[in-house]
Symmetry: C2
Amino acid sequence: MATARHRSRDDRIPAHPDIHTISLQQVLEALVDPVRRRIVSELYAAREDLACGTIDLPVSKSTATHHFHVLREAGLIRQYYVGTSRMNALRRDDVDEAFPGLLCAVVSERDRP
Amino acid sequence: MATARHRSRDDRIPAHPDIHTISLQQVLEALVDPVRRRIVSELYAAREDLACGTIDLPVSKSTATHHFHVLREAGLIRQYYVGTSRMNALRRDDVDEAFPGLLCAVVSERDRP
């Protein structure tokens, strides 16, 4: 039973892509959307993992789920569960290694007037 | 006559936007297109201004003209005429000042395997 539960929990989130298989094109397509950029900026500023529900977004829950999915597929975030909460971690080191300077340049807009 | 010719030459290219009126959203929408990113990368690598016709692009001339237009409107390039050649200058200092690190991060893909 314990094994079954453990497998079931893992299955709730698909495998995360190796950052080296991600193209700049895919990352830019993820980051060009302002809602997705807002998620990334919130995670960057928080400097800790955040549950989906704690990030205030101007879209429906199902649309937000889609945006998190795109970010995960683009290698920008890692998702995992804590209980029933889906947590989001910015893959900052991975992205910085694969696309140096990009993340910092894209989240810095919150500092602009 | 000389004045009229001069005015006519200036009129061939609209005014260029002040970089401080450009949003990150507009710059990313310009850079998310691979053909436009190729133009920017070519200008970045060349370290000199290039005529439109000298940049090899996998699109028709009219489509290329559209891409140059989008880059100009996004504050990424400055265009001017030398005789009948429309020249393109990357606004590197302007963009670096407004969006630190972005240009470098986006053109570095040519160095990736």
